[in-house]
């Protein structure tokens, strides 16, 4: 333990920061990806012709919902930890 740098707090911040700060947006991205699958090969994914793109399907919707639910739950859990600590 160093008196000039609080290493103990520092590594925890890096770990929590990586999980919540980079992991949650990544999970959100997975959810978005599941909601809008890529256009079939050769098609250009411009977003202009919505009818050409396949829709997500029930499994896709369910998994996407799960991803978003985990993101929301993690945020809610984080806030409750902070409120309880003070």
């Amino acid at each position: 333990m160093n008196t000039w740098i609080n290493l103990n707090a520092l590594w925890k911040i890096v770990v929590v920061g990586l999980l919540a700060g980079a992991g949650l947006p990544a999970l959100f991205a997975v959810g978005l990806r599941l909601l809008s699958p890529p256009a079939p090969a050769g098609g250009v994914a411009t977003g202009e012709v919505a009818a050409d793109r396949p829709s997500a399907g029930p499994v896709g919707y369910a998994l996407a919902g799960l991803c978003f639910a985990v993101v929301l739950a993690a945020i809610g859990w984080g806030i409750s930890v902070i409120v309880n600590h003070s």
């Binding site: 911040i13 990806r33 977003g47 902070i82």
Partner: protein, 387 residues
Amino acid sequence: MTGNDVVLALVVVTALGFDFTNGFHDTGNAMATSIVTGALPPRVAVGLSAVLNLVGAFLSTAVAATIASGLVNSQEVTLTVVFAGLIGSILWNLATWFLGIPSSSSHALIGGVVGATMAAAGSSAVKWQGLVSKVIVPAALSPFIAGAIAALGTYLVYRLTHDVAERPRAHGFRIGQVGSASMVSLAHGTNDAQKTMGVITLALIANGTLHSGAKSPTWVIASCATAIALGTYIGGWRVIRALGKGLVEIESPQGMASESASAAVILSSTDFGYSLSTTHVATGSILGSGMGKKGGVVRWHVARRMVAAWLLTLPASAVVGALAYWAANGIGGTAGVVVIFVVLVLASIAFFVVSRHPAVTPENVNAAWTGSVAPVPAPKDTDEVRS
């Protein structure tokens, strides 16, 4: 009302004034990226941020009172010292806001209080080790930590959605941004409103109104929460523009990644007892999101200007704090404090008047970046205005 009560009242008013500048100076930390990507209309964004700052200020009161007591010898702190410190921090905040530089309000406050304490009681009254370990080391590390997390988040987000069509992707991430920006606003309220609560509580203790070690009274919490929320709602459009348009050209996935990194770092460090500046974290995250995207544009000369301002924040606000102390102490007593207060009010009005020509407003905050904080009104002379 005795002379001391007048001084106490002025200290409380000045502290709330600082809280107000803290609010509008830092609106950009939470909302700049949401405003420039169009996730939220400018006025809705600052309104939402204001409400969440208000909520955040009530959410956690763990940080209050630590700010000054761990950094200076609290026996040396008189009302005049607190007052002079606040003057230094408000003036530095106004100057950097005018220049569109997101400098740290926390550092301005700490610098001002440290400078005023040194002027009053000499440098031995400052706890230098506390200053280095609690302020300077976190300030040096936090932008890199936040930037690295934001860069990784940005990379992952683009990687995972590279075959998603442009329109649903932008739409989805704008919705995500509303959530992540809200978390940053909440984090700002829990972090920054505490600092003013700590200062007012310190003043009340110095005056003998509260016994030492007392918690912030409810009226202090409520008034600080209100001041920071009002400041946030006014919106520091100059800083928002510099952060959102000047530093990096931001798309909504980058915005969400940088805000998530900021919120995670600020909230976790608050919880682990590591005090850091929301401004440094937010700026580091935005830079990181620029580096994490392939072909992202980072304007390093804007970043350099911001870092230079960060290095200056502590010493500059310390000098102003010290000058304010000497002036107030030289004139002496209640009159000295009243004179400095009048000077502060006049200086604030001057900054406000100068900032109107040309003004940065919700209407032009998103105008293309041409090298200056205030958008150039005529499109014909763009690049050679200021380089």
